[in-house]
Symmetry: D2
């Protein structure tokens, strides 16, 4: 029986100490600390670790943190939405994103060529430059192969980037596949379409990538999931693991509630009814904005693993 313990500040408090204390505080603070414990176990238990996130998190400064986690060997498979891919490439080409405001005058922003994502801004010219980048990338890929999967495309592009903070760069370097089941749902899709207009034998084989994510693990391997936000990224990773016998560990971090039956808000409990998560697995759902909760959890995970020499570089 664990007791609630009063939180006390001590001078020079580090993140790991704070997160440990939060485990005795209550409500989501407890879940947050359990998320940390679950991820540490995933790693120590030799799991294949799936990390999923949505594109708004790549808009944010979590992007370089994801890249760092891949670099440090904490991620084996990435699943995301295509907006995140686009923005990672833009940022790798030095496009800056701006801190704005949730309560902006959106019509004025539009007139200035500024696109809003919550309280962050992306300039329209960043998308224009992205178009210029995509053409040679696709040309080069096509020259090697006419029928490619999304994960192959991302790997090819990642190999050409030169940015330590890029998700695609680190993933390519570490041979971490990036899956994106809706590759056409963004500017990326538009450029694929434009390219196919001129090269009708160019085919993006999403079915083959289903096979790739399916064989990214197996029944015998231990499997862990860190799912940030909802969307198909979350569902796709879960599906791949379900078809391989279910997850051994799962951490869901989301703002969505379960009351409307949505996938985004579906809890780790619900997942057990499907066999998506094994009965006896360690599974925890943390409710809150991942821009706050994820750094807290992962910094304390990294501190713990570093102490035990479990981070590669």
């Amino acid at each position: 029986m664990d007791l609630v313990k009063d939180l006390k500040w001590k001078k020079g408090m580090d993140v790991a100490t704070l997160v440990n204390s939060l485990g005795k505080v209550g409500f989501q603070a407890i879940h947050l600390e359990r998320a940390k414990e679950t991820i540490i176990k995933m790693k120590k238990d030799g799991c294949k670790i799936y990390l999923t996130f949505t594109s708004n998190m790549v808009t944010s400064g979590l992007r370089g943190f994801f890249a760092q986690l891949i670099k440090l060997g904490l991620v084996d498979v990435v699943v995301t939405t295509v907006g995140g891919i686009e923005e990672d490439i833009m940022k790798a080409h030095k496009e800056d994103f701006v801190i704005g405001d949730f309560n902006s005058n959106d019509v004025e922003l539009y007139e200035k060529g500024v696109n809003r994502v919550g309280n962050l801004f992306i300039r329209s010219e960043s998308y224009a430059k992205f178009e210029d980048l995509m053409k040679p990338y696709l040309k080069d890929i096509y020259s090697k192969k006419k029928r490619v999967t999304p994960s192959e495309i991302f790997n090819e592009i990642g190999l050409k980037l030169d940015d330590e903070d890029s998700i695609l760069f680190q993933a390519a370097k570490k041979k971490v596949p990036i899956f994106c089941p809706a590759v056409t749902d963004g500017a990326f899709g538009f450029h694929l379409f434009m390219f196919q207009q001129d090269h009708s034998d160019f085919v993006v084989d999403v079915v083959k990538d289903f096979s790739n994510i399916l064989f990214s693990t197996s029944q015998d391997e231990k499997k862990g999931l860190i799912s940030l936000g909802g969307s198909i990224s979350k569902h796709h990773a879960i599906l791949a693991c379900l078809l391989n016998g279910g997850l051994d560990y799962a951490v869901y971090m989301t703002t969505a509630s379960s009351s409307s039956g949505s996938m985004s808000g579906a809890s780790t409990n619900e997942a057990k009814s499907w066999g998506k998560i094994k009965d006896d697995s360690d599974a925890v759902t943390v409710i809150g904005d991942v821009s706050v909760t994820f750094p807290l959890v992962m910094v304390s995970v990294l501190e713990a693993l570093e102490k035990e020499n479990l981070l590669k570089e």
Copy 2:
């Protein structure tokens, strides 16, 4: 200047009367009534109307309502996630879904072969039967064409169904295309993969479907969107309209909040900064579970259109 007006019950109150009164009540009730007005305008203004929804809504009894809306000529293009396609097909083959409970013992459910979606249950055997259905469908499609788009597949299947309450059936009958940018993200994807294992020249061309949704409208045409829930269905319809000059009318209905910068919670205001929705468009966001808000809005829309003889059948 509109004034708040006290709601009063009158015996035999119909839905249209209630929704009209809600427009003077306050908070989301006002938005709900505005959503009704906006959809009526969409229709009268001759818009191409996009309806998007997530798969949990097809799990629910909204499924037959979506089919009815297509039948009545209120929907020109559908965008959804693949789970919704699967469940529509299951239901068209008389698989029943069960009303359960949010607070279920999920491990017990799993042992009984019951999968939970919020407070609804889908039996595992429904998925088993689905597998038996998919094989001949895909075989038949393959016999006609080796390289197909998701929307073609759904149309082919829809033509074979015989259920007035089926989304795919009504869409096929009314030539309403159904787009699904992440066609592999579900059991459907698994069956496509199995089929491709035996037929390596079978290709699902998602890039071509991007072209199809792009050309489903044009700069010159008026465009309206009814978006239920978040996910890529919402984003994909918006994207197609953005590339055609932006939406003239938009109704978002969602439980998600905008505070975390997610697509699901992105408001119609945010969309204006992107040019996704035109500056001077009618646009409204209704916060709440669509299992409640959507029927209220659409029943009152149907009543209004029926009175003016604007429903086809």
Copy 3:
């Protein structure tokens, strides 16, 4: 075993029919229909019925609906926050409230003397007039009694109002007590304070009102609760019933989620651990904005009770 049933629109659909159908649709729609059933049972079972709401609902057009429910004999005890009392009195004196916008320029509103509550506006001059009203009310009450309870004050004021749509008026007429455990938390409190400055023997006896709400029911009586929103109004009614053996029926309608352990988001399940709601009671929580959900539920309750001749007038 109940099955999900597809919703279908039929011309001239009334609210009762729609709500019945929602009971087979899924997610919160099911809870909404159960809320209706639970309230009908409360009434038929001869419960003492507690209705609680927060002041923003009185800002909205639900105010006249609450008054109507009291008039129709559906409410035996009201618990609310003092802002609701103030606004009911303002409205009874013909102060109009305005429909505004969530995204207003709040600094500009301030300069114009307009106060925002979500998307509703209250003019500062309404508060000024309220001040003029309160003085004679308090003077008159004081002339009869120096030590009064909040519920006595509201009853005295209610007797002086002349507005069918007023909560205080109908409550006074029907001898329905109104409890407000934080009577000083608003402009009302300020005027009580001003009055006490000049009449130091004037005392508002909140402890006596605790006794009044406690003896508003008993162990032997059946008890039902309809709680809208959170706050102390919810808690206070529950507490009074707990001390009388717990509730036999409970309907909570709220936007708050249970994830942070707040009272506003506390579910009917949690209440059972306290004995606030009896083990075997009918209890249901409906998540959503009550400006939408409450009218839907109650209109269908009224239709059902009217058919069985269970409404008094």
Copy 4:
């Protein structure tokens, strides 16, 4: 123009460094860092600082942290709900609260005498012991004075406690008044009622406490608010400051959204329309569970103030 900056982990990262980085990450992380800056400014600007919280936070381990903040001179006035007072007294008498689970069997808990608050448990016997404590406290207070305010009662009890982690103890020691506008809304209210049964001249003067909170500051004094959660505690502190010319600084931390017009979800923007917060004030709303966000913010505030020697002890 501030740019989004990629978050990077560095070994041994302390909380202050993490929170600084979060200010460039996006979404609520930005608001969290601004909350820190705003509170630092409040303190440096010599504000009277109001801290408000709800009782569930006292159930949690934030209770000792609140006590510590009072001890360190960071809080001048406390406003809370009475449940928090009760639990602080229980804990000061060594009653332990237990870490449980959101998904408990609540009927079983009830049978075991365990009351649930989210994922925390309070034993019924803690309430029984509380009853034994209250009698002598009230007797003693009554022997000195027949007409007392809630804040006097809490101060008298605080002087008798002997627990460094107690809010009432530290508040009494530091002469920080604790206001509770709904003093009867809990077990505390029941014991006041029992006492009044035997001592009919015992009166709790809430109107006098309104005067006390009103004169706790003035037009001339700078005023800052840290409001955790919603409820009347939030509203009451705002009201007292509004009547003194409005707040110069305000930090709202809550899980509630503004979409239903509730007080709990009301933003700092809305407050400006009322003059509750001055036009040009520093004001920030952080959405998220305060069990996570508040420790993060305040630990980094404490680190910053400690460096500049601005903490008393």
